[in-house]
Structure formats: C-alpha cells, structure tokens
Amino acid sequence: MKPAPFEYQAPATLREAIDLLVSDPEATVIAGGQSLIPVLAFRLAAPSMLVDLRRVPGLGNIAVGESGVRLGARVRWRDIEHDRRLATAHPLLREAIAHVAHYQIRNRGTVGGSLAHADPAAELPGIAVTCDAEITLVGAAGARTIRAGEFFTGPLSTVRQADEIITELHLPFWPEHRRWAFQEFAQRQGDFAVAGIALFYDQDRYSRVRDPHVGVIGACNRPQRLRKVEVLLNGRAVDEDLIREAAAAAAQTIDPPEDFHAGVAYRRALVATLVERSLRTAAQARGS
C-alpha cells in the first residue's frame, strides 16, 4: 500500500502551479488528497509529480451573495458544515455534504478534489450537476468556466486538461421558499452511495411544480439530471399519483451499473424509492 515514487512541489502561486503542470505532463494536482492518496496507494495512478495547492492563496473562500454560493477549490467539507450562512444560502448543499465519507475525511477533503476525481457516487458532483453549477478552471491558456453538466464525462473522467486547475464552483442563487430534498442510500454511514437523489423545485401560486431539477448519483456512470422525470413533474401539483409516476419514470430512465454492491434491477428499484422519498420530503414545507 505504498505509492510509487513521485516528486513533490508546493508552489506559492497558481501561476507557478500551472507552470509545473505544463512542464511535466505526468504531473497531477493534490489538495486534501482524500481521493488521490488511496488511488496512489493502490497504484491505480503513478504520477511523476504532485503539485500541492496548499500554499496557493485565494482558493479557500466561501462567498455567499446575490449571485449564489461560490466555493473555492480548497474549501473542505468541514468548512461547508461549519458555515452557518449556507443553512439558508444553500440547504441542499449542506444536506448532501453531511453524507460525504467520515469525520476525518471531511476534515481534509476538498471541493476541487471531489470535482476533479469525479466519482459517479460522490455527492458534490451530483449537487453541481443538479443545480446547474459552473466550474472554473485555470490553465496555461487562461481561465474557462464550464457548466457542471458538461464537465463530467464518465467514471473518474472530466473535461479538465492536464495543465488545468479547478479554482471555483459557483452554485446559482437559491431562493428562500424552494422545495428540496437529498436522499442517499449506502450500506453504512459514510460508505459510497449505492444511489442518491438530489431534487428541488419552485412552486407557482397554485402550488404546482415550477422548474424542477432532479439529479442522480451512484446509479449512473456520471452524475446526471433525470430530464424525463423533470418534464413529468413540471406544472403539476405533487400528489400520490405524481409521486408514483415520477418514481417509475426515474427507474426506467437510468442506466445503472452492476457491481459488487448492487445489480441493475436493485439500483432501479432503489432509485424509484429514493425519488419517492425525495418528493415526499420536498412536499413538506420546512424551515432551513
């Protein structure tokens, strides 16, 4: 369980970090290391150099404003848990992050690391996709901002180029009366999600669903929105019929993987159940 040898650099600026990545195509970025170090320990990857972001300034901030929530790439799960503003500024994010791994990992794991690692069962990529978030990357060619739905391309795969560093995740503004839920099933607390559903919608004055967003993690090869379910929900009031229809549509829509933990049929049934629970939870008004 020892990683292959690598060189280590901890540059003081983002520019220097990018220069190091450009100088060595086999180099990779490390922040908290909570996903990367196990990958190195199993020798699933053997980068020639680790470029540590720990000294790079400006990546550790959480900004809350009229444009939404901006999370710096080095913001840790613990920082999100401790930031009381997020209880109203983004309750869905807070709820989802409570499911990330265990206490010790939440003390070191970071926003940028989770996005870059792109585990299909990870909570933050799921929230980013569900919420239409934007991911900012900076590389040798400059900065670019990509919608989360276009960032993840498959298991552990993203459009990030080898010389690019994620600097920020921007979650759009969260209105006060939005209905939402996050439901995840894992075999034990902190385990990888077998499946998870993130869901939110606004309501018109007749309590009909407006602009629903439904995202799935775990039961897919990358986090994605369930458009068919969203279309079904849009414009209707949440009642027992709609909950049943939405759950069935979700189970049909997904293309779940089969692995050690669960087969295809089980994951479909699980997603149906989680959609049902999510809609019931969201339908109950709650304070944040």
Partner: protein
C-alpha cells in the same frame, strides 16, 4: 528526499522523508512515535487518526511533506505525564477497548471532537466515530466512554 519541519506533540521536529511517505509512516518509522497504529493504509479503518491543526485526520491519507508547518498531535501527545486523561480514564472505566489496536484512533478522534464540540450527543459521537473500526467492543462502551468524558471538555468560561 525532502526536509519537513512541523510541531509534534508540542515540540518542533525536523525529518528527511521521501515525498511518497505518508504521515503515519513518518511518525512511526522516522520519529519512533508508534502510538499511531496503521490498519488499512487507504483511509478506511481510522486507526491512524491524528490531530493536524486541531482537526482529526487520517495520517495514512496525508503525505508527511504536507505536514510542513503544521501542528500535529498523536495519542502520545494527549497526556503530558503518566496520568491518564479524563478521556482515557473513561475508556478504561467503560471497557472501551479490548485488543487496543483501534484505541489511538478512537482517542484522537474523540479528543478532537470534544475539543470542538464538548456538548456532542450520542448521535454526533457515533457519527464522528463511524470512520473508526473496532472489532472487539461492539462500539457501545466506546460511545459511553466519550459521553462521560464530555464533562472534562466543558469550557470553564461558560456562564
């Protein structure tokens, strides 16, 4: 090899390590602080938990070179003399250990938790300890010990 300097249990230490060496191996093999135990070496068992800059972290999921300038506390640093700390005393009283392999990780995790959250309830304690595996006790005595130790962590300046 790289030179790393950090504070270990209140004392400055300086050590030469390969970049790939994780903090747990550095503590055990280079600094001979063998209280930190290594179970799985990939972030699952929690036995190697140490406290870095006040937060409980897994020392197998942190490179020694990343500890540069940090303050590290291991199980050896929890008590300064031969006496047991209130947390350790509670572990003994409640039989919260049997073989003892997981105990350093349990103690460091619980110490970091109660230092930040002296009023943590049983659910919170279970949640924080959920990343620490114990094959002997069944966990109930551990949770009872941590609950009892809370009294020693209450902030004295509270009204």
């Amino acid at each position: 090899m790289m030179r790393v300097m950090f504070q270990l249990n209140g004392k400055p230490v300086e050590v030469e390590v390969e970049p790939r060496m994780h903090l747990a191996d550095c503590l055990r093999d280079e600094l001979r602080q063998t209280g930190t135990h290594l179970g799985c070496e990939h972030g699952v068992c929690g036995a190697c938990t140490v406290i870095v800059d006040g937060a409980a972290v897994r020392s197998c999921l942190m490179l020694a070179v990343q500890a540069e300038g940090c303050t590290v506390v291991t199980v050896e640093g929890l008590s300064t003399d031969d006496a047991l700390t209130p947390l350790q005393t509670a572990f003994r009283k409640h039989h919260a250990l049997q073989c003892g392999f997981c105990t350093p990780g349990m103690l460091t995790t619980a110490h970091a938790l109660l230092t930040e959250e002296p009023d943590a309830d049983a659910d919170r304690i279970r949640s924080a300890l959920s990343g620490n595996l114990c094959r002997c006790t069944g966990y109930i005595p551990i949770v009872e010990a941590v609950l009892e130790a809370r009294a020693a962590y209450q902030k004295t300046d509270k009204p």
